[in-house]
Symmetry: C2
């Protein structure tokens, strides 16, 4: 099967909102009047972002999810995406499963595939996603204010625990691994929450490299610092209540590292003034997305993790960096 048959067979869908979709030199998008187009691009590589034996359906899901998560962090409504795909071979069953996972998530968010590129090579996926946001209303990293509350959606650290278990570095009971692995392989982009945070959050970012590192971007861009309360963060590890610390594997310090520096969470971290607490709670309810208040923005630069009494912990919390 040739390149163009491949595209037609697995990836061509009728376009709805785009003016022109898969199959010409360019796709054509027309944002509605008054709307800006939010654009994000992520590349996923075998061996770095996923295991060679990854379930292709989960991979299709995740490849789009990580981009939708960026749109969510801007408060943008998903519109369309392009897919550039390098494949070692034209494996029909693999492609069908990949397309199924990819297009199911796309459908769920009304985000249509409008174009892209296929080539032969080591498995690599590059998705560029487009969303609409009313001009001037995008959530940015650069506008957190001293005194703002600091929030995070969903759960933290489970994806990292799954990764370490799959790498054989920790042991997890099968049922817990399955649950944590869902968070690693099928992240749920917080699009509905992002939309409801427009005009409410003072800043937002999506968590891909770990809370500490990603929050660091917000703090530097905003010229502020922050503290996080360790106890509140530990509560956000979904599988924590089921982990036994009897064998010394899952001490609080260990778990805190996974939640603060783990990566692959694809949750939103955002800030809002204390006066907006009720509105944030209501936005979370409407978006059917759990949201927890985990700390506060401060004037002193840097990020401090503190205990319930406000004492700074002495642990270091590195961020994931592909080149560090």
């Amino acid at each position: 099967m040739g390149e163009f048959d491949l595209i037609a067979r697995h990836f061509t869908r009728p376009v709805r909102r785009a003016a022109l979709g898969v199959g010409d030199d360019c796709a054509l998008l027309a944002p509605r009047p008054g709307m800006q187009l939010a654009v994000t691009s992520d590349m996923l590589l075998e061996g770095r972002h996923f295991f060679p034996d990854v379930d292709p359906e989960a991979l299709g899901h995740k490849a789009l999810a990580v981009n939708l998560s960026d749109l969510a962090a801007c408060g943008a409504e998903p519109l369309a995406f392009t897919l550039a795909l390098a494949l070692p071979e034209a494996d029909d069953a693999w492609l069908a499963a990949f397309a199924r996972g990819l297009l199911a998530l796309a459908e769920q968010h009304g985000c249509e595939l409008v174009g892209g590129d296929t080539t032969r090579g080591p498995l690599a996926i590059c998705i560029t996603a487009f969303g609409e946001v009313p001009a001037g209303q995008a959530l940015l990293r650069s506008s957190a204010q001293v005194g703002d509350d600091l929030y995070v959606s969903g759960t933290l650290g489970d994806a990292r625990l799954a990764l370490e278990a799959l790498q054989g570095r920790i042991a997890l009971p099968e049922a817990l691994l399955a649950r944590a692995r869902q968070r690693l392989e099928r992240p749920n982009p917080r699009v509905a929450l992002g939309l409801r945070l427009r005009g409410l959050a003072s800043s937002a970012i999506d968590l891909s490299d770990g809370l500490a590192g990603d929050l660091g971007h917000v703090l530097r861009a905003s010229g502020v610092g922050a503290h996080l309360v360790a106890e509140r963060i530990l509560e956000l590890i979904a599988i924590k209540p089921y982990l036994s610390s009897a064998d010394g594997q899952f001490e609080p310090d260990f778990l805190l590292q996974r939640a603060v520096s783990g990566g692959d969470d694809y949750e939103l971290a955002f800030t809002a003034p204390p006066a907006a607490r009720a509105a944030v709670t209501e936005a979370a309810r409407q978006a059917a997305t759990p949201v927890a208040r985990i700390g506060q923005i401060e004037a002193a630069p840097g990020l401090r993790v503190v205990d319930a009494a406000g004492r700074a912990l002495r642990q270091a919390f590195p961020s994931f960096d592909h080149f560090a």
Copy 2:
């Protein structure tokens, strides 16, 4: 040097037309009122699209050029692009040269880098480029008409001859190889011509996989066929006048194959009614881009290469297909 320092050092430029550039979750683009956004994405891989020892400055140029060529084929004016880059290591000198080639071409076309992604892995480059085109005026593949003239810009086949020489499959004198290699490594996207073909050409496509294959997309999308005149195509090989056929390497049949099926030309092929000949000539002059009339659109499906007397040649002209 970490990932974020890398980005800042080599790829961050002040944005001009985009509302928000490199460094947030998303870039923000606002097409002007009445404009559609043309979007195209291409992935380039080491070993497939370029040699491991490629000059990084040339690679930076080409990675953007192949995308600008797609914008040109739509008649879109370049606006912005994202860059997703996988690198085996953070090599400062390599990155500086790559960024120099990339951003020089970007600057030349007023196309600004607004975001992207960096990761560690086998060298891979995925650029998604955005252009503006007045709503409804994009040049498409699907509207060639029977009786239309068939044109191609610039030169054909030189890139393929350079590739074969670099692979050791043919021998080229050093000066000719240098000239052909420019066409392979530094294609010149025909943006100015594409803009002037709006409202003039009935269809257009850019030539990446070879004239025969790419023209095939136009013919199928338009429900028509075409003939090409072999003699006119042979004239488009820039280095042909300097090639000796004394050693039997460069017979006309051999050269015709390179021009018709070679690939990597990044020229525009387009159609226009015979009544528009003077206007096409004027558009080419204004764009300072050579344009040649090489054939005609016909009702009978398929592509025929004919001699000066109109007799069909019996050679087959395959198209490049990454999975064939």
